[in-house]
């Protein structure tokens, strides 16, 4: 029998693992109003960002798609869109984009309400009411195939590729084998493994997309390191990587890739988009901690899995980020921030298999409502929309 967890079944059939109200500004000008609304109504979360105006072309499109997709994420029971009124990315366009998710949705526009205080008051009343309606929904048993996890990492050290990532790969494989979904990203950390990843593609088209995605990123980085002033900053592997024992870009990237286990790749997801099936996917995003998580949450991920060797406290609004360290010393220093001590594999107390199972069980518990440390402590730094040059 397939594993299950306790989630919130939404009207559109998707399943949330949290039940909060998202307050989303359409433009940076309404960020403070959104923050104040969220402060008035505990249990709601807000999404501060610096974009939404003075942008053109594909860059603006990616911003628009990403903010819409964040609003559609099933972890949010309702959304309050907060606009200024004259921005290039209109608050109504944002709300229209979220509407097909069929959840509670209202728009507050500062210039229509009169001023920021009036907008805060109106938005707070709406969020309060949404929160009360959401509070009546109870969790129900659903199959793990309803789960999508985002794989990410940051503050890495040599234990990440060696211990935490391979252990996470076992958990990811377990979820995917039961019909769930998982997303690998950080394309900048996959350079050199394109053929190894392409071998795992479900068909030739996906294999080609994987190769092209990695080569495109590599070419972009190569162009950015042509200037004589930054030539020493090679885009492939750093002196710190060599000092840590990595001898080639392939070795470095294999350590990053191991988060995705051995499952086949069902497709490549463009930033801001959702996949139309289940399975393991590659998301086209550079390796910035926040941009990766944001792209994964936009793709529909309800949980982020985050190995960190040196230790980082960051979290994401409304989305649990499970922190795993492969470094036992980091765990003993950062117990308040790190959820799982995979350093037990390094010390020989546990095998990879045992640790992979432990991570998988934690995913199910967190999906059923257990808070991770970054949630309890209110960390929300990882929301960060990617920009195109």
């Amino acid at each position: 029998m397939a594993d299950t967890f306790m989630g919130f079944r939404r009207k559109n059939g998707s399943v949330g693992i949290r039940n909060q109200i998202a307050i989303i500004p359409s433009v940076f000008c309404s960020a403070k109003v959104a923050e104040r609304i969220a402060n008035q109504v505990p249990g709601s979360v807000y999404f501060r960002h610096p974009v939404g105006c003075s942008q053109v072309g594909e860059d603006l499109e990616v911003t628009a798609k990403t903010l819409i997709s964040i609003g559609k994420n099933p972890n949010f029971a309702g959304v309050v869109v907060v606009g200024l009124g004259c921005e290039r990315f209109s608050p109504y366009e944002l709300a229209d984009g979220i509407a097909p998710a069929n959840k509670m949705l209202e728009t507050v526009v500062i210039q229509t309400e009169g001023d920021s205080l009036a907008a805060i008051q109106k938005g707070s009343k709406i969020a309060r009411e949404m929160q009360q309606i959401a509070s009546r929904q109870v969790r129900e048993e659903v199959p793990v195939s309803e789960l999508m996890i985002g794989l990410n990492c940051g503050g890495s050290d040599m234990t990440s590729g060696l211990i935490a990532n391979p252990a996470l790969g076992i958990a990811s494989d377990k979820l995917v084998s039961q019909g769930g979904s998982s997303i690998l990203s950080e394309i900048t950390e996959l350079i050199g493994t394109e053929e190894i990843l392409a071998r795992r593609a479900v068909n030739k088209e996906v294999a080609n997309e994987i190769r092209e995605t990695i080569f495109r990123t590599e070419e972009k980085l190569r162009r950015q390191t042509q200037n004589s002033s930054n030539k020493e900053r090679t885009h492939l592997i750093s002196t710190g990587n060599y000092a840590g024992g990595l001898s080639s870009v392939v070795e470095k990237s294999l350590g990053s890739m191991k988060k995705s286990g051995n499952a086949p790749f069902s497709g490549v997801i463009q930033y801001g988009h959702q996949p139309d099936k289940k399975g393991l996917f590659l998301l086209d995003s550079p390796g910035h901690d926040g941009e990766v998580s944001t792209g994964e949450v936009a793709a529909g991920a309800q949980i982020i899995l985050f190995p960190t060797g040196r230790g980082t406290p960051t979290g994401f609004p409304g989305i649990p980020v499970i922190k795993i360290t492969g470094n036992p010393k980091t765990y003993s220093k950062m117990r308040e921030n790190i959820d799982i001590n995979a350093g037990q594999v390094l010390t020989g107390e546990k095998t990879f298999e045992q640790m992979g199972n432990e991570i998988y069980q934690e995913i199910l518990e967190v999906a059923s409502g257990k808070y991770v440390k970054s949630e309890v402590l209110g960390h929300d730094e990882q929301f960060c929309v990617t920009r195109l040059p």
Binding site: T159, S247, T347
Partner: protein, 99 residues
């Protein structure tokens, strides 16, 4: 890196097909080190110092033979090495990333 909480003198073999192991603490030349496979252990005498996180050969590897870690080729040997030798970019090369 100062990173040793009661760590035994051991190196980890990540995949059963690998011909290198990764030092789990700073290891010294002449020491006997435990090679930790997923399902068993072996011992190897180190021919050189191996810093934490760096690689030791767990079999003799010929010139131009593949260096295998994670079950995949991470590069090839510039010179032949014996079991117990230190492997890094002084004696292995990787064609990917040279350009």
């Amino acid at each position: 890196m100062e990173n040793t909480i009661n760590l035994q003198k051991a190196a980890l073999v990540i995949d059963r097909s690998d011909n290198v192991a990764v030092a789990l603490t700073d290891l010294k030349k002449g020491e006997e080190c435990i090679l930790r496979f997923n399902d068993r252990e072996e011992k190897v005498v180190l021919l050189e110092d191996i810093p934490f996180g760096h690689k030791v050969a767990i079999s003799n590897i010929e010139k131009d033979e593949s260096v295998l870690k994670y079950g995949e080729e991470i590069g090839k040997m510039i010179v032949p090495v014996q079991r117990g030798a230190y492997i890094h970019n002084h004696n292995m090369y990787c064609e990917r990333g040279l350009k």
